[in-house]
Symmetry: D2
């Protein structure tokens, strides 16, 4: 599937500022970036490799108190939607060093607290079928409610509160999967099927020696998403981190199938 | 039912100490204390009224570095086991001032986080039937595992962890009930059916203008429990609070039907 | 000091609603309510006694989807500003049953976590001088920043974050005082010196067998405040609790010295 | 400095188990492992690269219900103790992709909550002098108390509680440093000066384009430590993680200067 991405961001700062951006579609497996153009004026950009070597992040030094950003890209998503039900979990001793950190809890995903729940509720399943059972459970149990969570909401609150937005769905899926000793990471992505259009967040799980995208909100699928960045949880993939208070002027995200 | 209670507690302190005790069967509705005798030597005792006017607590000034306590009581439990399924929740405006605080969250019971879960899972029930559905859900979902929780364990952890001891069962029941706008308080009690014998903790819910005991562990019932103290959660009913580190030497709790 | 209080509140609900109100100046020690008039149309009101017997709360059944409230009162504040530095802490065994609960942690005030800090920082002080040292420390260390905290902010976050509004100042003072084994409760109040004008929150500490108001923000003092309600923390004294989402239309609080 | 490390670990499991071990001195910059020998019988070992490419971790499949491990190593620590006071923080845009994740909060280190405190307390310092001011502040404010923290203790509790063991000191230092926009990671290490002898934990900070070890407990220094593993916090560097309950039979750690 070919998708076109158009982002505009306009922010005001109290003072000249360095911001950390993660918003470009990654040049990574399963997707081909045919064209991309980031325009950010006035600013000096330094590109660095993203977490786990996926994509690039940008340190942008903004000499002024306003930042005007446009990003346009054309991406071919070449990966198929995985048949998760036929994929196997790896035995622990076959999990490589680059993947093992994604077995562990993180700032928002206290997976160490969920061992018993996961064993009770999903103990009869294994591998991709276990992941699917978790995804379906989340879809059933959570309500998607805009504004129902904030930057401090962690997975203990989401699990009790039974509502959230895409970040919370992805946090809960990562948490349950990790609690079952299957590596899971948090993924920021673009998809044409997000309503209202916005940055999206999903999980990626490690089965049969590879990462596979899973969206617990049901809005996107692996074959229509362009990955931006991966990490342990939402803190690692924020589209913009600012060193000082940032006032949102306008922001638009448009993703269309072309 | 007539029950006999025998408690011995022996503690060592670093220095002379003031401890706060809540361990005597309360002279309160539904139970008649026929005999009771607390021996605590050497110590000076000051009795004060317990939370919500239930029972007494004791400030004990221990002039030495050891405390040796024995407590023996004979109690007739006269309350019946309530037919919860036929009791009604009170409309909010009929909840009196002395009861309203038990609608609110507390140190260990963040009931404000559970509104959506309670609505989804138990929204079809009302009154006593709702409380019973919650009790049964807890009985099904939690595993009673000695040592699986500690003094810091709150209900968010218990809900995710799906295990605990009586305090955690009672915390979770109080939390779910409060999230349904029904007052619930935490109760420390004695019962002959606790295995291994120990202080016990249950919930009390406000239905049809009265408090009713409910034990989510299933070990005790309203007609075999002697209430010690009530409060918002375990912090309010600790059998002993010490101002300095206390080393447990020996402690026994025996409760027998006579 | 005589103060006049004028409050208007206009809220919209999704459906007919029962709200819990705590906004009338209490008929309690240290203040005389000369006149007061609450108008809340259309609604049926049920008054109940406030926590600790201080003031009244109101269950208001609003049959419509809008609530329009006006409250006007004239109050003589007759209590003097206490000379805290000359007041003594009570020995624990002299703390009565109605006061003892305010030694304990609560939903937002995890005072059990602060024992060592309080001992290290304030161990050289006692009684009212200790409370004053805590108040001054908070005044020095915290920055008053509107919007810097929310309904979920607890005292662990405030202590690390070093900013907040009046509720956070009061939470931190209650927490430190309780950690020093001195009872402290949370108080909602009116004062003419709040800028911008709003409901205010302070602490009340138990010294020499009585409660004494202390404002860590420095904006108000005991002799210019009209107490509305007391409790363990902000959850117990919310000016309005709604059973369903409430949209603020307009709200004004005016307090003037007359 | 040349140090000799001797570790014995004997654990009993409920069933055959896969454990994750991080206990070998890393073959990494600043230290030369002259000899090392791990004996773990009976078990099948799979070595993987440690977090950030530092050292190796081991998946050990233990076919029996007991694990007997001995580890002996001889290590030359060749790095000098850094003159932190003369080192500079890097501007954000010069922080590379492999280092940027260590600017962010983690499971135990909610550095996002400490921005204001760090600005107020340490805002006058910069670079290595800021790190030293933080280290000295921690040394002054915290008390080293064995058993005062547990596996659930996070930095919000440590900051309020003002006590802990080496993991808590390292968590707090990592947290404060990250809150000042300087990368910091958690390091498990051996040092001959730990009393009582045990695995040790310290922080590593990114100054002048390199990592530098800092021990807030004051027990060890960069020139006497052999690094085992690095990560975001204690969860990433646990010396042993077990998939099922593990009973400690005996464990000894001896580190001597030779």
């Amino acid at each position: 599937m070919r998708i076109q991405i158009d982002v505009t961001m306009n922010y005001r700062f109290l003072q000249p500022n360095t911001v950390f951006l993660a918003l470009e579609a990654a040049h990574t497996d399963g997707q081909t970036v045919l064209e991309d153009r980031l325009s950010l004026g006035p600013a000096q950009l330094t590109r660095i490799t993203g977490d786990a070597g996926v994509g690039e992040r940008i340190w942008a030094r903004v000499p002024d108190t306003e930042m005007h950003l446009t990003y346009r890209a054309l991406v071919d998503v070449t990966r198929p939607d995985p048949a998760l039900e036929s994929l196997n979990a790896m035995p622990l001793h076959a999990i490589p060093g680059a993947v093992a950190p994604y077995l562990r809890p993180s700032r928002y995903c206290q997976s160490d607290k969920f061992l018993m729940f996961v064993d009770k509720r999903f103990g009869d399943f294994s591998g991709g079928q276990k992941v699917l059972a978790m995804r379906d459970w989340i879809t059933d149990e959570l309500s998607y409610v805009s504004g129902s969570s904030g930057v401090d909401t962690d997975v203990l609150e989401t699990f009790a509160g039974r509502q959230g937005v895409c970040r919370d769905y992805a946090h809960l899926l990562c948490t349950l999967v990790r609690a079952a000793q299957i590596p899971a990471r948090f993924v920021a992505a673009y998809s044409p099927h997000i309503d209202p259009p916005d940055f999206h967040a999903v999980a990626e799980v490690w089965l049969d020696d590879a990462w596979h995208l899973v969206d617990a909100t049901g809005m996107a699928s692996a074959d229509d998403m362009a990955i931006i960045a991966v990490g342990r949880d939402a803190y690692d993939t924020a589209f913009m981190e600012s060193q000082s208070p940032a006032e949102l002027l306008t922001q638009t995200v448009q993703v269309t199938q072309v």
